[in-house]
């Protein structure tokens, strides 16, 4: 696959350079580590530090979500690889006041190990209180009995939104943790893939699909999905995915949800809105109310084709955190 790059070995570095230059009023680097990015106002206000991160290649996630009302700092890994502990520790140190830090990341073994080591270092060496929330929204990645194994995908956007707003409110670490974990428990996603992405360094497609095939429940690094099916209409796919999520999450008539239709990279807004049209109709039929909706590219897999649906079960406590303003380089809400 063709890419407009210079050298596959330095894509992340060049991307970060461009990003920091383009948005210097909102984010800045830190001297201690080239893979750490923080808000320009990091550390100025007493608040819990929200630190996010993960592999790159998911832009706008994760680096795009550093800013007011969202995260304080991010650690940026190689493409589809967890960052090592160092940049995570530096993100904590550069943003920390004395309210503690919340590490928020997806349920991948690499992230768990590296963020876990970073939490230990921050605790042991810096004496900073650290809590962790691990997002596990992908209902297709493990059955309900093994919900602990589910990986994190686009639902992390909602969890980050809630965490960021709660931290911005000035709530205590325990409170931010409790509310974030509540959002985490109430979010579910499932995706579909139409075409693969390729790593800049190999140029090879991450999986193979015939012209008339699609992959249901795939991961957002091009990991193979739950099932390959024949290309179906958007309505058929949407209904199948949505019903799965609703079942898995025990969402019922009278419940209220926020909806995210997330594009994986090369899927058009047109396709995402066509999907939303059906999601809205189906939820309506089932008597499930929509609180608020997001449609667009929130967590991509390079140029993968496909999308995911995420539902966040709302309650009165979560609403103001979803509604709160946010101002980040790649995401603004007012």
């Amino acid at each position: 696959m063709k890419k407009l790059i210079n050298n596959p070995d330095v894509v992340v570095e060049e991307m970060l350079n461009g990003y920091l230059k383009a948005h210097s009023h909102l984010v800045r680097g830190v001297e201690a580590h080239s893979r750490t990015i923080v808000r320009t106002d990091a550390g100025l206000k007493q608040k819990v530090s929200l630190i996010i991160g993960g592999g790159s290649g998911h832009e706008p996630a994760f680096m795009g979500y550093v800013g007011k009302g969202m995260a304080d700092g991010v650690a940026v890994g190689n493409i589809f690889s967890s960052p090592p502990p160092d940049p995570i520790v530096e993100a904590i140190k550069a943003t920390h006041t004395d309210q503690g830090a919340l590490l928020l990341y997806g349920n991948y073994q690499g992230d768990i190990m590296n963020f876990g080591m970073a939490a230990d270092i921050a605790d042991m060496e810096e004496n900073i209180e650290v809590k962790q929330v691990i997002v596990k929204d992908d209902i297709a990645s493990a059955p309900r009995e093994e919900a602990e194994k589910r990986r994190g995908i686009a639902g992390e956007f909602f969890v980050t939104k809630v965490a960021g707003a709660a931290a911005e409110e000035g709530l205590s670490l325990d409170e931010v943790y409790r509310i974030t974990e509540k959002a985490n428990q109430n979010v579910g996603s499932m995706g579909v893939g139409l075409s693969p992405c390729s790593l800049p360094q190999t140029g090879q497609p991450s999986f193979n699909l015939e012209e008339d095939e699609m992959e249901i429940g795939l991961g957002h690094h091009g990991e193979p999905g739950v099932e390959k099916i024949k290309l179906a209409t958007s309505n058929v796919v949407t209904e199948r995915i949505l019903n799965n999520i609703i079942d898995e999450m025990d969402i019922e008539s009278g419940n209220e949800v926020s909806v995210l239709i997330n594009g994986l990279g090369s899927t058009t807004r047109m396709e995402l809105y066509i999907m939303y049209d059906k999601v809205e109709s189906l939820l309506n039929e089932k008597g499930i109310n929509i609180y608020t909706s997001y449609v667009g590219d929130y967590c991509t897999s390079l140029e993968m084709g496909g999308c995911s649906i995420t539902l966040l079960k709302m309650d009165e406590e979560l609403k103001p955190f979803i509604d709160a303003p946010a101002q980040c380089p790649m995401y603004t809400q007012s």
């Binding site: 589809f80 690499g110 360094q201 091009g222 990991e223």
Partner: protein, 215 residues
């Protein structure tokens, strides 16, 4: 094995894994996200750089192993980063303050290396991970029979068999575990790179030994 030869081994590891970069990516494409060769390449390149900078004058084999682990981790992150780092750091303790390693020292190094990886890995035998190379290696190194050299030779065999056995396993750990039964038939990339790493070591160590004995 002198500290210089110990460092040479890590140079060799870099070369061997660089040679197998594409192959490892291909294996990972079938089971995961297709980046294992890249991850190894980035990690060993960082190690190689450390060998030529920070470690240029280092003669403590323990410190060398420690820095190898940390350099690898800092460059790659991922899950392999912490696994390798834990291995090298644990192994480092076994050879602390030594500027020269006997075959027995090296045996201790690898036994502890494997314990270190295992602590972090939490993978059982048969989970289709690098541990399916490392468990049999450890068993061979700890066997009652034969000389240390023979144990290493046995361990090298065991590594190869362990690697090949991963083909028939259904993955239980890491990214590929989501594939379940669909993972059967594909050799595990992490087991493959670990086999390369260990076999390269055995070849170099025994080669040195032979050269010295002939000498």
């Amino acid at each position: 094995m002198q500290a210089e030869e110990w460092k040479n081994y890590f140079e060799s590891a870099h070369i061997v894994l660089e040679e197998n970069k594409t192959y490892l990516c291909e294996l990972d494409r079938a089971l995961g996200d297709g980046d294992h060769g890249i991850t190894m390449s980035i990690g060993w390149k960082a190690v190689q750089e450390a060998l030529h900078s920070k470690l240029a004058d280092e003669t403590d084999c323990g410190k060398i192993a420690m820095t190898v682990g940390r350099s690898f981790l800092s460059a790659v992150g991922s899950s392999v980063g912490p696994l390798y780092a834990s291995g090298f750091m644990a192994g480092a303790k076994a050879v602390k303050n030594k500027t020269e390693l006997s075959m027995e020292d090296m045996r201790q190094f690898w036994i502890e290396f494997i314990n270190g990886v295992q602590d972090r890995s939490q993978a059982e035998p048969g989970d289709k991970t690098m541990m399916d190379v490392l468990y049999p290696v450890q068993a061979a190194l700890q066997s009652e029979e034969g000389t240390v050299e023979e144990k290493f030779q046995q361990a090298s065999e065991a590594a190869k068999n362990g690697m090949e056995a991963t083909k028939e396993m259904s993955s239980k750990k890491g990214r590929s575990s989501r594939l379940g039964e669909r993972s059967i038939g594909h050799q595990d990339p992490g087991a493959t790179s670990m086999q390369l790493l260990f076999s390269t070591f055995v070849t170099e160590a025994l080669n040195l030994k032979t050269v010295k004995e002939e000498y």
